[in-house]
């Protein structure tokens, strides 16, 4: 429903991006990275679903466009995961405003346009990449002995690491459920030609 989604998006933006609440999220590394940033991307995604035309998957170009859009979102999120830019967003309101705008417009919005256009293989690829990145980053944050961000404490870094490993586990499970129990795979496998049918 149109108004429902725009309301949720507006609500997310209000909660995540408007000071002083925005600063509250940013006061903690875990809140900044795992709550504010996802909320901004989600807000952009919801807005994107309102404006993106539905995909015409018969057209090959649409799929390539989908890949471009998801790549754009990936680059954007990756950029803001660089510790120095996370720090910069805390230190400067201008950088923070750029962070908020780009995460909504260059990550969330293209994701809404691109994801429905991805084929199952590309989706699986993105999903598995996300899991492995979460594991790598999680282990890095968990075990790195020095502070990666000047604005945050080292113990928060460890908490973030554990949370990221948790996210990796969740993504793995969420990806596995449809594979194991989903409608496409729920149907019995084609019978072996020589299989005996019990009366």
């Amino acid at each position: 429903m149109l108004s429902y989604r725009s309301l949720v998006a507006a609500g997310l933006l209000l909660i995540a991006a408007v000071p002083p609440l925005a600063w509250w999220w940013e006061a903690s590394l875990v809140r900044h990275m795992l709550m504010q940033i996802p909320m901004l991307v989600l807000a952009g995604f919801l807005l994107g679903t309102l404006v993106a035309p539905s995909p015409d998957l018969g057209v090959r170009e649409e799929r390539a466009g989908g890949i471009a859009a998801v790549l754009l979102a990936t680059f954007c999120v990756t950029f803001w995961m660089i510790p120095r830019w996370l720090d910069a967003a805390v230190a400067s309101h201008r950088v923070d405003a750029i962070k908020i705008m780009t995460l909504v417009l260059l990550a969330g919005l293209p994701l809404a346009w691109g994801w429905p256009r991805l084929g199952p293989v590309a989706r699986g690829f993105v999903w598995v990449q996300a899991i492995s990145m979460a594991i790598v980053l999680g282990l890095l944050y968990l075990t790195f002995p020095n502070r990666l961000c000047n604005s945050y404490l080292v113990n928060e870094q460890a908490i973030l690491g554990i949370a990221m490993l948790g996210i990796a586990g969740f993504l793995g499970l969420a990806g596995a459920v449809p594979v194991l129990f989903g409608a496409n795979n729920g149907s019995p496998a084609p019978r072996h030609p020589g299989a005996r049918v019990d009366p």
């Binding site: 390539a64 466009g65 890949i67 754009l72 680059f75 950029f79 510790p83 230190a91 404490l153």
Partner: protein, 202 residues
């Protein structure tokens, strides 16, 4: 627009990689700490002119050290962890300076970022832990919190409350040249490097 999608992928790859390249100084600088060190080394920064007060309660300023190299560190005197280490490292530096031709040409300044707690008395007591202040080593504060913030900001020093009544901050040796510009930042335990730089600049 037959190949619009493919072109799109190429453009995104190009601009995305360029953005990450730019944002990490060519994939070398991922933390704010290394970024500020690189930036200072590339373009030296003048320090804001602020009134300082030393451990005797006398007014000093960075201009008073003009013509000399200043090795500066930031502490707060209640600190029981890293600042203690910083102190003994500066103690070693003073030893090296006072037993070499650098005496009188290189000074050490320990600046507190907690001027509301650290007055001259606290600074003097902190100095006593390392053999006291002398002509080489000065312990100062910027009495006004605004001036302290200006100084921290000019050098991109970030101080974070640790949740236990203390602070966490970038511990480093800030090298200021005889013209009063911050020219280099090195690790707090890089005593040899700091001395070599001082020798070069003095």
């Amino acid at each position: 627009m037959k190949h619009g999608g493919i072109v799109g992928i190429m453009v995104v790859l190009l601009f995305g990689t360029a953005a990450l390249w730019w944002g990490s100084d060519g994939f070398t600088t991922f933390t704010a700490e290394s970024a500020r060190r690189l930036d200072v080394a590339r373009s030296p920064r003048p320090l804001p002119a602020v009134a300082l007060e030393d451990q005797r309660g006398e007014t000093v300023a960075f201009e008073d050290f003009a013509g000399k190299v200043v090795l500066l560190n930031f502490v707060y005197t209640r600190c029981t962890t890293i600042c203690t280490v910083l102190g003994s490292e500066f103690e070693q530096l003073r030893d090296e300076i006072e037993h070499s031709e650098l005496e009188g040409r290189v000074v050490l300044v320990t600046l507190t970022f907690d001027p509301e707690h650290d007055g001259p008395k606290q600074l003097a007591r902190y100095a006593e832990r390392y053999g006291g202040a002398d002509a080489t080593w000065h312990f100062v504060r910027a009495p006004s919190m605004d001036d302290t913030r200006r100084l921290l900001r000019a050098m991109d020093v970030v101080v974070v409350a640790d949740g236990f009544g203390g602070f966490v901050h970038n511990a480093a040796i800030h090298v200021i040249d005889p013209r009063g510009r911050l020219v280099r930042i090195v690790d707090s335990d890089a005593i040899g490097e700091a001395l070599a730089l001082a020798r070069e600049l003095a």
